[in-house]
Symmetry: C2
Subunit: 333 residues, 2 copies
Amino acid sequence: MLRVPYNELLDALQRVLLKLGFTPERARLCARLFADANRDGIYSHGLNRFPRFILQIQNGTIDIHAQPQLLAGMGALERWDGKIGPGPLNAFHCMERAIALSRKNGIGCVALANTTHWMRGGNYGWQAADAGFIGICWTNTLPNLPPWGASDPRVGNNPVIIAVPRPAGHVVLDMALSQFSYGALASYRMRGELLPVDGGFDAADRLTRDPAAIEQSKRPLPIGYWKGSGLALMLDLVAAMLSGGRATHQITSDPDREGRLSQVFIALHPSSLGSPEAAARIADEVIAYFQLPPGSKGEQVRYPGEQVLKIRSENLAKGIPVEPSIWEMVQAM
Amino acid sequence: MLRVPYNELLDALQRVLLKLGFTPERARLCARLFADANRDGIYSHGLNRFPRFILQIQNGTIDIHAQPQLLAGMGALERWDGKIGPGPLNAFHCMERAIALSRKNGIGCVALANTTHWMRGGNYGWQAADAGFIGICWTNTLPNLPPWGASDPRVGNNPVIIAVPRPAGHVVLDMALSQFSYGALASYRMRGELLPVDGGFDAADRLTRDPAAIEQSKRPLPIGYWKGSGLALMLDLVAAMLSGGRATHQITSDPDREGRLSQVFIALHPSSLGSPEAAARIADEVIAYFQLPPGSKGEQVRYPGEQVLKIRSENLAKGIPVEPSIWEMVQAM
C-alpha cells in the first residue's frame, strides 16, 4: 500500500469536499474524520468509503448543506433531526452536544434521526475520550443480519462504541454486532483462508468457517448467536424510539442509498463525581490486570484501542496507508 | 417440579426475611424480587439462590440493615454507596432513583459501589419498563471468564439488561456476556446433551460443544469471542470508574463471599421527547418486522422478553414452580 503524509491526505480530501460545495469549516472537519480512520488503521471506513460518500452526495442520499436541527429536549436528553446531512458531521456535532449536556448534568444524551452513514463509529468515541468523557454511541443500519431463528436479514449489525478516557491511552471499543463484516469475509476469501471461528451458515444450514459460503447464503452470524441478535434489536428499538426516526426495517437495503439512520450519543463525566486521578487509577489497574500476568501459554491479551494507538503512531511516522487506485481518483477530482 | 401459588411463595420468603431481622417493608420487597424471578421462569436466580443469599447474610457478606447512601451527584448523574446491603434492594432503589432523575432530566444515571449480588438483573429492566421508561443496567461480577487470548478468568460475565416499554408487552433483554453460564453448562451435562454451539475450550485448547470439558477447563467463551471479551472489560471499567467502587479483579473469586460489586443504572424517558403513542407504534412495528413474515423454513423468531410473558402468565395460572428441597427448607426456617 502507498503511504502519504497525514496532512497531504487531509488536504486532498478537503479540496474535493470544497469543490463539491462544503463550507471551509465543514470540509476540514469531514476530511479529518475520513483521514483519521486511515491514520488509525480502520481502512475500511476511511478513504475506501470516500467514493461511496461522493456517490451518495450525487444521488441525493446526502445533503451537504443540511445542518442538524434540535427538535425536542428535556434537561440532559435531546432529539435532533439530521436532515440527511453528512453523517460524520452530524455524528460529531451530536457527540459534542452530548458532551456539553454532560458537562452541565453529569450525563448527556442526544438521539439523532434522519442522519446518514457516520463512517468510522470509533471517531466519536475517541472524540469523547479526548475531551475527558466516557462516550457511548451506536447507530442502526440497513437490514444486513438475520436474527437468530431466521434466514433473512431483519436486523442491522448496529455498531456500538464505548470509550473510556485514560491518560495512558484511551480504551475504545468499536464493534459491529455481526461476528464478521462482509468486508472481513471478502478479505478472508481473497487470502484463501478459513475464518478463525464459525462466521455464519452455509446453504445447507450448517455453521461454517468458509467465508465464501456465508457471502453466498447472506447469513452471517450475530455475535453470541441469539444474544447478539437480541442486542441488535434492542439498540435499533432504543435509537428509533428516542430519535423518533427510522428503525432498521424502514431503511433501504441498497447500500448506495442507505440513509435516514437513527443514532444515540451518550457522554458521561466521571470527574463530576470524583477526582480525574482516581478514575485514571481505576482504569490503569483494570487494564494492567486484563493484560498481566501473561497467560501460562504466553498468549497476548489486547485491550480495545491498544492496537489503534500503535498503528496511529506508526502511520503518523511512516505515512498514512492509502489504496492507490482511490488515492489517484481523489487526486484527479 | 412442585408448583405453589405466587402469594404463598412470597409470604414464605417474607417470613424468613422478617425472622432474619429485615424491616417489614424491605422484607416484602426483597421477597417479591426473589418470587418474581421464579414467576418469570428465571429459576436459577430466584428461590434457588435464596440459600446462598441467607449464607451471605450469615457470613457477613451482606448487611441486611445497610441502606444505600448518596455520595456525590451532578444533575442527572449520581454515585451511591451500597454499603454491602442486600443487592436486590440496593439495585431496586438505584433504578427507582435513575427513573426519578430521568423524569426530571430526560435521562438519569446512578452508579452504585459496594453492593452485593442483585440476583435476577432482569427485575430492574422490568421495573423501568413498567414505569414507562427505557432501562439500561449492568453489573460487574467476580472474575469468571478468560478474556480472548488468555486461559485464566480475568473478566466477569457482567450481565447487561436493556428494557423498552411497550403496551403490548415490554421488550427486555437480560443477558450475561458468557455464551453459556456455568448453570447452563451443568444442565446440558446432566441431560447428557452437547451444547447447540461452541461454548468454550477443552483441555487441549480446542473449541468444544462438550459442557463437561468446559466445566473442567474453566474456559467458557465470551459471546462473540474477542468482541464479548472487549465488551465485558468496558462494562467493568465504566461501572468501577463511575461508582468509584471495585472492578472485577478486586472482587473475591469465592462465590459464597462475592460482594462489593459495582453497578450502573440508566433510565431514559422516551415520552419526554415525543408522544407515548408514537414510541409505542415504533416498538410495535419493529417487533412485528422482527417476527414476520415467518422464515422460509418456518423458523420461529422470539423477541427478548416474549417467553417471559408466556411463562409468567402460565405460572400465575398454574402455580409457581419451586425446587422441592429448597421450598421445604424455606418452609422449615
